[in-house]
Symmetry: C2
DNA sequence: TTTATAAGTGAATGAACATTCATTTAACTT
DNA sequence: AAGTTAAATGAATGTTCATTCACTTATAAA
């Protein structure tokens, strides 16, 4: 990505607007109609480019789908740790992450829904981006919380299921209602905080 | 369904094996390749019938997909409440349901994975089966637990997210590992019980 | 201004698609 | 045994699909 910015080149530069239009329209179509609903010709039409243009940016349809996911995952994981400091208390750290995630979802509902759709699809089996920095931060955060006596020792998947599984479940609830009612997506801070309190209680030693 | 069993008829009876073969192969193909991967001709070949035969059992592809989901949802919800008594304690009731769900998932991993795939897809927006009996049982169960002081008052989606969201999250973890490692699906009772204990603690007033 | 290079294109291609249809087959009634 | 009904079929239909290709256009170096 962005080769034309980092390398001097003799070529005609790529039009970033085109690339973004393709990506955003692809997210939209997939969220609305599923992967089945995305054909290269429909996508090209929606993005205002020629079908052949898509093949300049992506090797083929499969590459397009995986690139879309990597893009979404990177953005989401990056946003989740915005302003995150692994040395704060468990409750404070989780609260920040929940708020960050919710903010991203509210601002980018289409991208998030695509992310969830892909995560739950058979396409996910392929190798994906590493999330190294994200994992390192989380390991540190958990270790600190255990040492401080805020968190019981447990297997990582149990921690994840309690600390985040309930959050995602709550979000799913609201996204489905939104889809059905065509209302705005909105979880109140109070509802989130109430749920988080329960989660923190569960995680105590 | 099963019209030939409940009504006397003058017609040639439907071959139940064919219907089941179509359904089971459809689940398999969709779980392995996604909805994109299911074409009527491939399904027919896999089930050992003619493409036209599928249209005897289902109006069209869309009807097939929704019927598959209704079938899976009914089986799963029925199994979840097997031996369930809404008057038992919160922990006992949740434990039974978790065990039931896990047993179903272990015995029918393909059906369950299809169920999750469909639930997370745009196809879910259409009207689906009512689950009336299931909901009635749950309302009673929750009411009892609150009266007994085992459960704090909270909005239903919060209860659901804590009491089941973490369970599903745990299952997802293991199913993904299984897919990647081609191992057998296995969550130990101890791991489940540990998680349930934490959940029950969270739900206390 | 010329030249090189890659961005961008519309039309074309063969494969795969959902669905239909004329026909055959099996079961039950009389 | 004859008649009726619907199950079951393989081949056919018209459409949509992913991808390619010969070509044009825009950019920057020379």
């Amino acid at each position: 990505m962005n080769i034309h910015l980092t390398l001097p080149s003799e070529m005609r530069i790529r039009d970033e607007h085109k690339e973004e239009a393709i990506r955003e329209k692809a997210y939209e179509i997939i969220v609305k109609k599923g992967f089945e609903g995305l054909s290269m010709q429909k996508l090209a039409k929606a993005a205002g480019v020629s079908p052949a243009t898509i093949y300049i940016y992506y090797k083929n349809r499969e590459d397009l789908l995986h690139s879309l996911f990597n893009h979404a995952q990177k953005e989401f994981a990056f946003f989740a740790l915005r302003n995150f400091d692994p040395s704060v208390s468990l409750e404070e750290g989780l609260w920040l992450q929940w708020k960050n995630r919710l903010a991203f979802i509210s601002d980018n509902p289409i991208i998030y829904q695509f992310f969830e759709l892909f995560r739950n699809s058979p396409l996910i089996n392929h190798k994906n981006v590493s999330m190294k920095e994200f994992k390192e931060n989380m390991v540190l955060f958990v270790k600190n919380a255990i040492q401080r006596g805020e968190l019981a020792r447990m297997e990582p998947e149990i921690f994840w299921s309690i600390a985040y599984g309930s959050f995602y479940s709550l979000v799913k609830f609201h996204l489905q209602e939104k889809k059905m009612m065509t209302e705005n997506f909105k979880i109140t801070d109070a509802k989130m905080k109430q749920t988080l309190h329960m989660v923190v209680k569960a995680l105590k030693p």
